[in-house]
Symmetry: C2
Subunit: 416 residues, 2 copies
């Protein structure tokens, strides 16, 4: 029997549910596979339209030439091509899969701020530029066994200069090892310098580490890190990419990729950064997402710490100085404080919430109150964590106690 | 003719004006000389009483045993002794003098926050402890030619660990030299490590530098810095002390002395500091006086930077990271920003003012408005600086423009 064509798979997907048993149906996954190759990620307009009509209808419209002009322009001649099945098979051959929003393992809660930003922030110049826009991925190619959501739930990005110093590499490796020892996943970009030092530190601690690549997960870039990436996969870590297998690490893709590093994690630690560097940009995007921005200082005589010190000197920048893993964990794990962390121009009480606060809030039902244990199970946290965060949510009029359980507070009455 | 006795001098002082031609009369200076030897500085109670009754009456009462009990307890058996004339002569022999509040060269404006703190903050535990209290000196023994007020008007304290690293010494020397080159006076404590590196940097730039000693200005402590201190005096710098000539550098005196370093300057730069160190204490006292606290970061692997990073991590601590002299000057010299700098629990608009803001405000007459040039002359700043600061003072309802000049705004009406 021949494999189903893309059109057959898409038709199937339209006929039934999006997922069965926590796994997206084949047609839906194939549509998203097609989209990851058809369009460069990072476009707010394309993401919004796809989110609006759904990935299957979006794929069909793009292939039929009936999609909105902006979307057609972004896809161009790629609309004629279809490597979706080949990409999925190629991924399978290297132990990878495409994780899509319809899958249970999709890290929806971590990526929630990206979703909010894509929905609400479309008119700002940064959102009009594909390399700086805050927009979720249409799907994530993942190489390695563990579920993506569980791996990044307690994760921290450790980023920095490629042209790092021995000092920076020492600190990054130490942070990687100590975060790993304490059960935190280190997420970084797999590049020379700070990235690889952080990954190696985590590996040395026997901890999972996640490399977010700007090329296909079957490729190693830089090639010198090929064995390291394999070891990461073998040690329970993951290689993650928005681009399909075989995709080349084009220069512009690194900047686009950086939002995924910031987006998957609870906070970003900048270990060394030159003035006006990519690591600073990643940190600012983490800040834009309401995530913690943590900065390791260094000698003021070192050009590789100038960017770090710039971040720490930014008035109202919200960057926090950290000197060790304990201080990092205190910042990303501290619940009360985290909840109260200053966020850029908070528009609603919800915007000021920590990742955990949002997760617990999202877990609250509308009508019948449920126990903190139940909320914790849905939010993916310890019951104790949920219980600690609930009083603050109640104070912010976001949840209410019914006498038997917690539920969402009704929206404020007009004129109240 | 024999020299006048202390009692004769005191009687003379009571009969006439406090100063003639901008110089305190001999009896008044002698009273303050006597007080600098009779009582260890730093007592809020003694300072308030002395300020209340005047130094001459205070000296007479202490000698007659009619002073309040608290004052008598602090002076103890020293009330019987009188080395005031000997101290003044000993000072003269080493090119020193006692500068008193009645002299024109008294740095009244720089020390104003100490005066305010001594008047208003007497009930806090820190003000009850002589080593931490914020209280002005009763007089300052000064060795070196230039007037004290002009020398410290544009000054920055550069402080830090004695057990400094090569990195810290390099940074301190560089700061000293670059601040000196740009016309700023470096004030420090003359100790090993960061202090001496900062003084040497300033000297190397041919700039004036001020050593605030915890012993008599005729002594060198540490002795190894004897030649350096002489070179500082020969180069237009000053040695300053609250203690009379010959006084020994007792350990407790260093902590008491530190408030003068913070008090004479516009801001304090901490270059290297261990955890829970004296340099941190100086920085916190500078902050308590509303002065800038500036901190040089270092490697997180260095124990000598831990105290610096602690200061930078203090929430609401107001410490600013600086990496070079330009950033220091930006912080202590920037008028608009300086004016708006966050101060601990500002109670009134006045509390939030910069040093310059307070000086210009204090220079404003109550009734007849005067020109910005006149205010600048009284406040000891450039007319341009005064003009820059006046609009903000007006916005804060502290001053008003009469149509012909500036004067203090009337206090707000009750119930308004």
């Amino acid at each position: 029997m021949n494999a189903p064509t893309l059109d057959e798979d898409l038709e199937d997907a339209l006929a039934g549910p999006a997922a069965v048993g926590g796994v997206a149906v084949p047609g839906l996954r194939r549509a998203r596979a097609w989209l990851t190759r058809a369009a460069e990620p990072g476009s707010v307009d394309l993401w919004r339209w796809t989110d609006d009509v759904g990935p299957v209808a979006a794929t069909r419209a793009l292939r039929a030439g009936t999609a909105p002009e902006k979307a057609r322009t972004l896809v161009g001649a790629r609309a004629e091509e279809d490597a979706s099945l080949a990409d999925l098979r190629r991924a399978e051959r290297c132990g990878a899969r495409l994780v899509v929003p319809e899958d249970d393992e999709w890290p929806a809660l971590a990526l929630h701020p990206l979703t909010v930003a894509a929905h609400t922030g479309g008119d700002e110049p940064a959102q009009q530029d594909r390399t700086t826009a805050l927009v979720p991925p249409v799907g994530l190619w993942v190489r390695g066994d563990p579920p993506l959501d569980g791996t990044v739930d307690r994760s921290v990005a450790v980023v920095g200069a490629r042209a790092s110093t021995a000092y920076g590499e020492h600190v990054a490796a130490d942070l990687g090892a100590q975060l790993g020892e304490r059960g935190w996943t280190v997420v970084s970009g797999g590049a020379y310098g700070i990235d690889v030092a952080a990954h190696r530190g985590a590996l040395a601690a026997g901890a999972a580490t996640v490399v977010v690549l700007a090329c296909g997960v079957d490729r190693a870039y830089p090639a010198a890190h090929s064995a390291l990436f394999q070891r990461i996969v073998d040690s329970g870590g993951l290689l993650v990419s928005e681009w399909p297998p075989g995709a080349a690490p084009h220069r512009h893709r690194f900047l686009v990729r950086n939002r995924i590093i910031a987006g998957l994690t609870r906070g970003t630690v900048v270990v060394e950064a030159a003035a006006r560097s990519g690591a600073q940009a990643t940190a600012r995007r983490a800040r834009g997402l309401g995530k913690q921005v943590l900065v390791v200082p260094g000698p003021v005589t070192s050009a590789m710490s100038v960017g770090c010190h710039e971040l720490l000197r930014e008035p109202e920048g919200g960057a926090r100085l950290v000197g060790n893993a304990a201080q990092v964990i205190e910042a990303v794990g501290a619940l009360g404080e985290d909840l109260a962390a200053p966020v850029q121009r908070p528009a609603t009480p919800r915007d000021g919430l920590s990742d955990l606060g949002r997760r617990v809030l999202d877990a609250c039902p509308v009508r019948t109150g449920v126990s903190a244990e139940r909320l914790a199970a849905v939010a993916g946290c310890d019951p104790l964590e949920a219980m600690r965060v609930l009083p603050a949510l109640e104070l912010a009029d976001l949840v209410q106690w019914t006498g038997t359980g917690w539920r969402l507070a009704p929206p404020p009455r007009k004129g109240a």
